[in-house]
């Protein structure tokens, strides 16, 4: 029966238990020990049904929290649906998130063997295929290197290569293609099409709509746990855009928690990562915190970067959908680098401009409302904050994205007392801004603001983020008061 069907999903519903936050106080603790923990049910998938034919490539799209990953996990049998049934036909290989749970202390070879066996190969089968996997992932040189020394791109490549060696009938992929450099991306693309020729089935989640359009036979748009649209990719993407389009909620930052800065702009091989001083983990998380999670502040907006350096955040803004970005800097060498970096990505010259000069004077020359979003990295410690904020206020942006040192003394013409009150002083003095002071400043200049919670974001690896971790640095999303609703 139904020989040509690979996957059949019948009325799947999935509820998650969301437990109340654990409390630290002793009475609450005893209460929680004695009583069952309170929880609410969150319906992540609501009565989903579909069929996938053998040999089809199906893309699943939808906003964060729409239930995409949950659906994949159910298809891969990792979790069970609350109700409903899943039928699968053939060997399944699933690539969910990065790394796949390699043992960091074992070398690449041993990990390939274990992973292959987990996926269902016998020990001798997978042992024979180890060289093939290493070759495909281009990691032959690292066969005996413990995985803990691998970059995230390298382990993703290894995971992908191993999963492919198993020769699955059904491949389930969660945004893995976004990892790895361009060349490897093309390679995995190619593998997808050979799989397709062999009548294998591929299901994958992607935020890259053009990718979905390119390689999928059909697409499923998940919206709030239900199927929003299903069928021809171009048609489904159109409906997705209509529904999701500009309606990104303003406070997306807090809902958008994943433990990995997944579909990151700065993929391996990016020129911005080549700078020896760059810590990839830091750059990736900052991009996630400031750009990905606040994409509403960039999409179709004109953006001003007050200190553009090598252009990395101008690039991030453009990739997040900004229609125009202007960078300011005062180091000729850096500005040149910034220009060449952006050029190397083939970004159209009409999409950006780079200005050389003093930040405050340049701001003075700009007309109000010429920029909707202003990026302010680190300027709080080196500039005359009062004038800077005055000029920013005059420009009247809708969003102000700040990332600054806090609790570190610097020279300034302002005086901030412990309570956070600000007063001008006659000559430069060492002051130190704390969160409260910054808050007061923003308040004074009529901004609503929100400190982005790094802890909440799900960062597991704090390498390069120590200052955020210790509270010596803070990221802030500020919005013009009375501008957008009272959400903030």
């Amino acid at each position: 029966m139904m020989e040509n069907i690979a996957i059949k999903v019948e009325n799947i519903t999935k509820d998650f238990r969301i437990y109340q936050e654990k409390t630290d106080s002793l009475p609450d603790f005893f209460h929680s020990v004695l009583q069952r923990r309170d929880y609410q049910l969150l319906r992540v998938l609501d009565d989903i049904s579909f069929e996938v034919q053998k040999g089809q490539v199906v893309g699943i799209i939808g906003r964060n929290g729409a239930g995409k990953t949950t659906l994949l996990r159910i298809l891969a049998k990792i979790i069970r649906p609350t109700s409903g049934k899943v039928y699968t036909n053939g060997r399944i290989s699933a690539l969910l998130r990065l790394g796949i749970g390699f043992n960091p202390n074992l070398n690449a070879k041993d990990n390939i063997v274990i992973y292959g066996m987990i996926l269902g190969l016998s020990k001798s089968e997978i042992t024979k295929k180890v060289p093939e996997v290493l070759e495909y992932s281009e990691l032959e040189k690292f066969a005996s290197t413990p995985i803990r020394h691998f970059s995230s791109g390298m382990s993703a490549r290894l995971a992908f290569a191993t999963a492919m060696t198993v020769d699955p009938d059904i491949l389930i992929v969660d945004e893995t293609l976004a990892v790895g450099d361009v060349k490897f991306g093309q390679k995995s693309f190619k593998t997808f099409s050979t799989m397709k020729d062999k009548n294998k089935t591929i299901i994958f989640v992607s935020h890259n709509l053009s990718q979905v359009k390119q390689i999928c036979d059909s697409a499923i748009f998940l919206h709030e746990g239900k199927i929003g649209a299903m069928g021809d990719p171009a048609e489904v993407i159109k409906q997705y855009m209509e529904i999701v389009g500009e309606k990104e909620p303003i406070m997306k930052a807090t809902q958008n928690v994943t433990s990995n800065p997944n579909h990151n702009i700065f993929v391996e091989g990016s020129v911005f990562l080549k700078n020896p001083a760059t810590i990839p983990n830091r750059l990736r998380w900052r991009t996630k915190a400031l750009f990905d999670d606040n994409s509403f502040a960039f999409k179709n907006k004109s953006v001003l970067d007050l200190d553009c350096r090598d252009g990395r955040f101008m690039y991030a803004a453009i990739m997040t959908g900004a229609k125009f970005v202007q960078g300011i800097g005062n180091d000729k060498g850096l500005l040149e680098l910034c220009r060449s970096n952006l050029e190397s990505y083939g970004i159209d010259a009409s999409q950006y401009a780079i200005l050389n000069g003093n930040t405050v004077s340049i701001l003075r020359s700009l007309k109000p409302h010429s920029f909707e979003t202003i990026l302010c990295f680190d300027l709080f410690k080196s500039l005359d904050i009062n004038n800077l904020l005055k000029e920013i206020t005059r420009l009247d942006p809708s969003f102000l994205v700040i990332d600054s040192d806090v609790n570190r003394p610097f020279r300034s013409k302002l005086n901030a007392d412990n309570k956070g009150a600000i007063s001008p002083v006659s000559k430069d003095e060492m002051i130190s801004l704390n969160k409260k002071t910054i808050g007061n400043l923003l308040n004074k200049y009529n901004f609503d603001f929100k400190f982005l919670d790094w802890q909440d974001m799900g960062v597991v690896n704090w390498t390069g983020l120590e200052d955020y971790h210790k509270g010596n640095r803070a990221s802030i999303l500020a919005t013009k008061k009375n501008h957008v609703s009272n959400n903030l």
Partner: protein
């Protein structure tokens, strides 16, 4: 078409279980300079300390006390090690459990197997020890492996519920370490239970590890074999624990991936 509930039997995963156990052992000792030797040195050192304390300080006069004590340490170690590793077995593999379909039993069994491999080495050392002390064991010593298997059944049986409870209640780690610590004293590891007053005997009667230990010593060292009615408990309890433990495990295991 295969439905979700159908799966391969655990037996078909035996190679994987063995490979995971073996690589875990390899990686466990990789960063130490003495490596695998530690699995032998650790019980030997514990034995030496106990030996010095109880012969020289307390003047124990049990016959063949070094062998008596060493066997006790090994058998206690076996239970404590397997159950302790079992407790962490699923949480430690959280990164795999949440990403790939695999019966969770695999992780509990491979962690038990890894600890068990360690223990068999210790038992080997015990027999070398025996030869060195020129002790000739009675013929019943051939039955000793059965006692070891019984204890393995018991330890795996307790590991199943521990591993899954620990996923939901992380406090268990501390509770279990207190339980194993006190268990060491309520089990005749370094003393002879029969020399204690009758009022405390029930402790040993209902402690399956104590029963197995007494039996193991009787078989290998030729001490008195306990009367049959005292043997029923240690012979039956391991299977009961495994049955109940596994049932609890099955009942809760479908929720593990969501919790991790």
């Amino acid at each position: 078409m295969a439905s979700l509930s159908e799966g391969r039997s655990i037996w078909s995963y035996r190679n994987l279980i063995f490979t995971i156990a073996w690589t875990d052992l390899k990686s466990r000792y990789r960063s130490t300079s003495l490596g695998f030797l530690w699995s032998l040195l650790e019980p030997l050192l514990i034995f030496s300390v106990l030996y010095v304390v109880f012969t020289h300080l307390f003047g124990n006069r049990t016959e063949n006390y070094p062998l008596y004590l060493f066997l006790g340490v090994i058998m206690w170690h076996m239970f404590a090690k397997i159950s302790g590793a079992g407790l962490h077995s699923i949480v430690n593999k959280g990164s795999i459990v949440g990403k790939i379909y695999l019966p969770t039993e695999v992780f509990v069994l491979s962690s038990s197997l890894a600890s068990f491999i360690n223990v068999t080495l210790e038992i080997g050392v015990f027999f070398i020890f025996m030869v060195a002390l020129q002790f000739i064991p009675p013929i019943t010593a051939l039955l000793f492996p059965l006692v070891v298997l019984l204890e393995l059944v018991l330890a795996v049986g307790i590991s199943f519920p521990l591993s899954v409870f620990f996923v939901f209640y992380r406090d268990l780690e501390y509770v279990w370490s207190v339980i194993t610590f006190s268990g060491f004293y309520f089990t005749p590891v370094f003393y002879d239970a029969s020399s204690l007053p009758a009022s405390v005997q029930p402790i040993f009667l209902y402690n399956p590890v104590a029963g197995l230990m007494t039996l193991g010593r009787a078989l290998t060292l030729g001490t008195t074999i306990p009367p049959f009615d005292q043997l029923i408990f240690p012979l039956v309890v391991p299977f009961a624990v495994l049955g109940i433990g596994y049932a609890i495990f099955r009942h809760l295991s479908s929720r593990i991936a969501e919790e991790l």
